[in-house]
């Protein structure tokens, strides 16, 4: 009975030693891509496991020596579990947080916008570190819209939970514009094409030709003076004793032309989109 009691006490002592030996002293937090040294105590061999979002490590370690984790073992941000097994297992967890901003994921819309439109342009930025971890800590993102070296718009926005965004109206002048998002010296660029808006002050002139009337517009501009792009449709309509006839013609080099065949007194008009042009009244000779 006495021997059993002594044996029990001895085995209890041994178990206690094992438990102490398996203590892991992990930090509460590390940074992605850093190396890490985890001290252990005791002696003998143990199996060390590291389970994280992007890694699953298993290696034999010597208790009493520090466990060395490489940058590659810890490059994914998230929650890691470190386990040390020598007979029984003990574990601890820690977080790896993202490193500094290395790239920007920049979503800009649209790639082509009409001039003078409210809230026509938007941009969203997600900052990432070099391991593609989303940087959650706030950083300031500078958004800038430039065209012909002129600064059309600029705004600074801090990220919130790893995202910054803006929305803006488009500028008055048609042409190529560059949208830039930057964090310190890291930037991402998108090209935006601003195109003329709907025609404004659509004016037409007409002359009789051998096969009817040739109608053409003056050079078509939008209300900001930008030339309306080729291909925009202008509808010419003639009302006469022959009835009503409509011809759709695309703008070519800033002007739309059509040939109509009214008879007698005719009223000729033009429209493009929701914009009406002037009306012409003509007496068409046979």
């Amino acid at each position: 009975m006495r021997r059993i009691l002594i044996a029990s006490l001895m085995s209890g002592l041994w178990l206690t030693q094992v438990c102490f030996a398996q203590e892991l002293n992990v930090p509460t937090q590390a940074t992605a891509g850093d190396t890490l040294s985890i001290p252990t105590s005791g002696n003998g061999e143990a199996t060390f496991y590291l389970v994280g979002p992007g890694s699953s490590l298993k290696q034999t370690v010597h208790l009493g020596q520090a466990i060395q984790l490489s940058a590659n073992d810890l490059n994914a941000s998230g929650r890691y579990v470190a386990i040390l097994c020598a007979g029984a297992c003990t574990s601890s967890h820690f977080f790896v947080v993202p490193a500094g901003v290395s790239t920007l994921s920049f979503l800009a819309h649209p790639s082509r916008a009409l001039v003078r439109q409210n809230d026509a342009i938007s941009g969203v930025v997600f900052p990432f570190d070099k391991f593609r971890n989303l940087v959650i800590a706030p950083v300031t993102v500078n958004f800038q819209l430039t065209a012909n070296k002129a600064n059309l718009f600029s705004r600074s926005m801090p990220t919130r939970f790893g995202v910054a965004w803006f929305r803006s109206g488009s500028w008055n002048s048609a042409g190529m514009a560059q949208l830039t998002a930057s964090v310190n010296d890291i930037s991402a660029q998108r090209v935006l094409q601003l195109v003329a808006s709907d025609p404004c002050n659509l004016r037409i002139k007409a002359q009789q030709v051998s096969k009817g009337i040739l109608v053409e517009t003056d050079p078509v501009h939008d209300c900001s003076g930008n030339v309306v792009p080729d291909g925009t449709i202008v509808s010419f309509t003639a009302n006469s004793s022959n009835g009503r006839s409509t011809v759709d013609a695309p703008i070519k080099q800033g002007v739309a032309r059509a040939q109509l065949t009214p008879a007698g007194a005719a009223t000729i008009s033009a429209a493009s989109g929701v914009v009406m042009g002037n009306e012409l009244r003509m007496e068409v000779r046979p």
């Binding site: 496991y49 979503l107 790893g162």
Partner: protein, 164 residues
């Protein structure tokens, strides 16, 4: 006797699947600048649930190809690497009894990306050579980026964070 055994086996399998089916509660009212449409809300809840179920299954089987259905970009690359390493080390992670309180915090003006926060709880078991070496009730927060795919929303980023 054989029929009873088979039924018991089937019942166990069904129970195991049921136990592993993630429970997702989604709140979208705080999303801005774009409001989340009800159809999108349903899709997000459905696809996030399916993504976690897939992740659990992929982890259980150490099969990175299962991730293809609901993960893309950085999230897929990260988890695929972990699963490949799991296979090498004979270790895998079990995600059991999952509950996810998901909150949409950002929905891009053009609707092409959504950021969510997930207050997740699950039982995490780490198994090595068929032996559970770690069993823990985990309460953790995730930052999630989801983008719309052809017929579903997929996870582009799933990142556990110490605090939000």
């Amino acid at each position: 006797m054989k029929t009873i055994s088979m039924f018991a086996l089937l019942l166990c399998s069904v129970m195991a699947v049921a136990q592993n089916a993630p429970e997702v509660k989604l709140v979208v009212e705080s999303a801005s600048p774009r409001a989340v449409e009800s159809l999108t809300e349903r899709s997000i809840a459905r696809d996030y649930t399916a993504a976690w179920r897939t992740l659990a299954e992929a982890s259980e089987k150490s099969s990175p190809s299962l991730l293809d259905a609901y993960f893309i970009g950085g999230a897929k690359a990260t988890f695929a690497r972990a699963l490949a390493e799991q296979k090498k080390t004979g270790t895998h992670v079990r995600y059991l009894n999952q509950t996810h309180h998901l909150k949409a915090v950002f929905y891009a003006p053009e609707g092409d990306v959504m950021e969510l926060q997930d207050a997740a709880e699950y039982q995490m078991q780490i198994v090595s050579d068929d032996k559970v070496i770690h069993d823990e009730h985990v309460v953790v927060q995730y930052i999630v980026l989801m983008t719309p795919g052809a017929d579903r929303w997929v996870i582009r980023q799933l990142q556990a964070v110490p605090t939000l």
